[in-house]
Amino acid sequence: MNLLNLLATVALADPTITMNQDDLTAVIGQTLTVESVVTGPAIAHLNVVSLDGVYVDLEDWSQDVTRTVPTEEATVDWEFQAVNPGRFAVYVVLIPQNGRLVAGPPVHVTVSRRETLDTGGALPVAIAVPALLGIATLTGTARRLLGLRSKV
């Protein structure tokens, strides 16, 4: 193999992609970041699919799904918000100027439902705190008034 051949294979090599995570868990509403290492030249596109078959509106998950990748190796961060509960795969596809698409490995994301609060606890606190402060204020005033009267 001569030098020219070597150069040609490097120059014409397919774009590559690896992901730095393969499994993530999140709570609904949480913002996540996955990191990918890519070599181009290519255009990279983020995608999200549901493994439970629910509909995914990509726009809700991320506003920034398309990036240009340079020839040399680069790290690209993808930021998205977990909008629906369930199991999802997040992956990146590279679209070279010519040739085949290259898909990166999927990152599995499990999104759990929101934590719900038992309303029961909130009400006692919401009543007790002002009540205690109110009593403290009033007794303070009363004690002062009575105390002063007896001294006068």
Binding site: V27, I28, G29, Q30, T31, Q81, R114, E115, T116, L117, T119, G121, A122, L123, V125, A126, I127, A128, V129, P130, L133, G134, A136, T137, G140, T141, R144
Partner: protein, 255 residues
């Protein structure tokens, strides 16, 4: 024992024993109770995430706690001028600087009281998620920073005005100007909108807090947003200490 502590001690007494401190904090707790109740019932209907509820309490606590600090500091010097008690204080050998520091310290007790009152609400709304402790720490650090900066500005305003009404009006106007943009839902997240959020100590603090509490960012992620509250707190404290002797005079205005 340095004399600023004597000033701080008496001014705190005046605020809390027979003063308006207890009533202000009582009102504060009623407001937080209403917010907590609404947040909790809303959440039961699944509209509000638990972390959003905690965030809401931190934001309201911070904004109203700072408001009360501003109200108390606005009275500190102009109020004494108005009541004719300032000359008596100026006639003591206590340095002007010690007077300013003592008054600022006394005003900050109302912020600390608000902070303490906020804790049970954070606890009850944040149970189960690590958010409650985080929220309390954020309220303590970020809130204290904002309260120092804006309480200090209010004290400066009080030093350059002769009447309480003027001083209070300017203090409240300032808060309104700073607070209004944080309530605009459509403020863009980039460009001019971001700059407006970043320079505004209240806007940037609230942004920082909600990034951590709701979006679960790391505490270092948007740390640069704290630049504005830190810079303002440092500058205001510096100005108060450096210019204190020139500002603390019998009457404001030209000599």
């Amino acid at each position: 024992m340095s004399r600023w502590t004597v000033v701080a001690e008496q001014e705190s007494r005046d605020l809390w024993v027979g003063g308006r401190g207890p009533a202000l904090v009582f009102g504060f707790s009623v407001l937080l109770s209403a917010m907590t109740y609404l947040a909790a019932t809303n959440q039961a209907m699944n509209f509000l995430e638990q972390r959003e509820a905690v965030n809401l309490i931190v934001q309201v606590g911070l904004a109203v706690g700072v408001l009360l600090t501003v109200v108390v500091s606005a009275d500190a010097i102009s109020g004494e001028r108005e009541r004719g008690t300032f000359e008596g204080l100026l006639l003591t050998p206590v340095s002007r600087r010690a007077i300013v520091v003592g008054k600022l310290a006394a005003a900050s007790t109302i912020w600390l009281a608000c902070l303490v009152v906020t804790l049970p609400y954070l606890w009850v709304l944040g149970r189960g998620v690590a958010g409650a402790v985080q929220a309390a720490l954020l309220a303590l650090t970020v809130g204290t920073l904002v309260a120092t900066g804006l309480g200090g500005i209010s004290l400066l305003i009080s030093a350059v005005t002769n009447s309480n009404k003027t001083s209070l009006a300017w203090g409240l106007l300032l808060l309104l100007v700073l607070f209004a943009p944080t309530q605009l839902p459509a403020l863009p997240k980039t460009g001019v909108g971001e700059v407006i959020t970043r320079v505004n100590p209240i806007g940037s603090s609230l942004h920082y807090v909600s990034q951590i509490l709701v979006s679960r960012r790391d505490w270092t992620h948007d740390l640069s947003y704290l630049a504005s509250p830190i810079v303002i707190a440092v500058i205001v404290t510096g100005v108060l200490i450096a210019a204190g002797p020139r500002l603390v005079r019998l009457t404001a205005g030209p000599r």
